[in-house]
């Protein structure tokens, strides 16, 4: 915070030199201006960096970026379909619309439509990680249009690419964004944005304590095709979470946890056994899980009220049949937006369990869904060679 104060002192000195052209009797001191600016959206702030150099310094500062991130919270829905990405303002008072979103592409990429849609690995603090083709990753900020391509992973896995699980998360204590790549093999590939490189961790992502020779495998939803990509991990509290199915206890499922700060692996119990149609997500800072009740055309929405405490799983019956439902985010602080069966968005009311179709103009037929916040977080450019640290600024 002392950096902010010294900046404000500079702003103060600067204000004393300014011209007299004012629209009000009182000119606000810089500290008060610094309290107004975090209420603005990213587009306005990016433009206002042009107001003056002290404003640019203030708005670009990592502390300001952090304050803004926690204050503004403009969230958008992200859809991936065919070869397009779409962004949706789901809380607008008008009819929501799916807006085409520019995303970075490899120059050498095959211009013909790819068999699979762009895979959204995850999103944290306004940065989105996508895989446009097998093993080609980009991290980009959809709001500021900054992007970078990741170097090739040094770790490769044999076997079907559909057996590989991915996750993208943020580790607050080390201020780093990480991409994890894992398969049923005793090595995990971890890319660190801070290091700008891949590293390998030994061991499995999840090991059944009752049968260490046979690690759990990533849970695959029964309705998913064998060639469909696995759902990516859910990122929360500096860890990545995947649902695993154990070999030992007749199809029991568990949530494997990979801590991005310590590399430690752990697990959490899922609320019930013998369920299908699992999907996890984060809503309002809590881990959520949805699943279908076997045989019955209805499901449950669970929220883990206390992170890591299995006894705190709280269930709400969902009065709407679904095969797979992924919780996305809160809607107007009252309902929960859910991506259902990869073809529609619904508003789920946790008070009575009802679901209502959420209309979006121009919504594609089939899609993968996620969400992101609008933020000022910068994306460092990663060049092929290891670049100088001075030319690189990782905002918090």
């Amino acid at each position: 915070m002392s950096i902010i104060r010294s900046m404000i002192t500079r702003l103060n000195t600067y204000s004393q030199l300014k011209e007299e052209s004012k629209m009000s009797n009182s000119n606000l001191p810089p500290e008060l201006i610094a309290d107004i600016l975090p209420h603005l959206p990213v587009k306005s702030l990016s433009r206002f960096k042009c107001v003056s150099k002290p404003w640019r310094t203030l708005i670009s500062h990592p502390d300001f970026v952090k304050t803004h991130l926690h204050q503004a919270q403009f969230r958008r829905i992200l859809l991936s379909s065919a070869n397009s990405l779409y962004s949706i303002d789901h809380e607008t008072d008008d009819l929501a619309a799916a807006v085409d979103l520019h995303y970075p592409r490899d120059q050498t990429q095959n211009p013909k439509p790819q068999p699979h849609a762009v895979q959204i690995i995850g999103s944290c603090n306004g940065l989105v990680c996508i895989m446009t083709q097998p093993d080609i990753f980009f991290i980009f900020n959809p709001t500021t249009h900054q992007s970078t391509r990741l170097p090739y992973a040094s770790i490769g896995f044999g076997g079907s690419s559909a057996a590989i699980g991915y996750g993208f998360g943020y580790a607050p204590s080390i201020d780093d964004y990480k991409l994890v790549k894992a398969a049923p093999s005793p090595a995990i590939g971890v890319f660190s944005l801070r290091d700008r490189d891949w590293n390998t961790r030994s061991g499995f992502l999840y090991q059944d304590p009752e049968n260490r020779t046979r690690p759990g495998h990533f849970y695959r939803n029964p309705i998913q095709g064998e060639k469909d990509p696995l759902p990516p991990a859910t990122s929360l509290n500096g860890s990545l979470h995947w649902v695993f199915k154990l070999h030992s206890t007749g199809g029991k499922c568990i949530i494997g946890v990979f801590n991005l700060e310590t590399d430690k692996r752990g697990f959490m119990q899922v609320p019930e056994t013998a369920v299908s149609g699992f999907s996890t997500g984060v809503v309002n800072g809590s881990l959520c899980l949805m699943h279908r009740e076997d045989g019955l055309r209805r499901g449950y929405f669970w929220v883990m009220k206390e992170y890591g405490v299995a006894a705190s799983w709280t269930k709400i019956l969902v009065e709407d049949p679904f095969l797979v439902a992924k919780p996305l985010c809160l809607w107007k602080n009252s309902k929960i937006l859910i991506a259902k069966d990869k073809k529609e968005l619904v508003l789920f009311d946790p008070k009575d369990g009802t679901c209502k179709n959420f209309e979006v103009a121009g919504i594609p037929d089939r899609f993968y869904a996620d969400s992101y916040v609008e933020s000022l977080v910068t994306v460092p450019v990663i060049t092929k060679k290891k670049s100088n640290l001075e030319s690189f600024c990782l905002c918090f």
């Binding site: 009000s24 960096k49 042009c50 003056s52």
Partner: protein, 184 residues
């Protein structure tokens, strides 16, 4: 907290305080509302320590940095906020009150000149009126959100210290941020 030798706490509806503005106007305000101005609360608590008998009724709290028009608006806004000592409403009452407050807020902002927002923010900061400051900060942000760089410079009295070629380069590189901006 209460001591058996002190007077029992009066009900909030009867306790009033008097605030005096920079232009020597006096405002009689309910204690519950005045306590939202933390500067006033601090002053009152300091006074209370020195003279128990003079609780509320005769103390006039000077606010030399706040003009009457500005204080009137802040008090009016403070009254509409949920009172900390009020009886808890049921959900329906809460929703109705929320809607009423939204309507009041919209009406309030419609009648304010942008320059007045600056005075309100300044005063709310001086009074340490947190909810008021949040509200008016957001209102000012909403006002300037789609404005041009030139408007913002004029509004806050900021001198442009970019060289023309620097500014041009920035506008080109961040063209997306300059789209759809209000005409000045």
């Amino acid at each position: 907290m209460s001591n058996t030798s002190e007077n029992p706490k009066p009900s909030s509806s009867s306790a009033k305080m008097t605030l005096k503005t920079s232009d020597n106007e006096l405002f009689e305000v309910e204690e519950a509302v005045a306590m939202k101005f933390c500067t006033v609360k601090q002053y009152f608590e300091d006074e209370k320590d020195s003279d128990v008998a003079a609780r509320g009724s005769t103390t006039v709290i000077p606010l030399p940095n706040v003009h009457s028009a500005v204080l009137a608006t802040l008090i009016s806004y403070g009254k509409k906020l949920p009172q900390s000592n009020a009886v808890a409403d049921n959900h329906e009452e809460e929703e109705t009150k929320k809607k009423e407050r939204k309507k009041y807020e919209q009406g309030l902002l419609k009648n304010l000149m942008p320059g007045e927002l600056l005075d309100l923010i300044s005063a709310a900061n001086y009074l340490d009126f947190k909810e008021g400051l949040e509200f008016f900060n957001q209102a000012l942000a909403d006002h300037i959100q789609n404005k041009s760089v030139e408007y913002v410079r004029k509004f806050f009295g900021i001198k442009n210290d970019y060289e023309p070629h620097e500014e041009e380069k920035y506008r080109e590189e961040y063209a997306w941020a300059f789209e759809g901006v209000d005409e000045d």
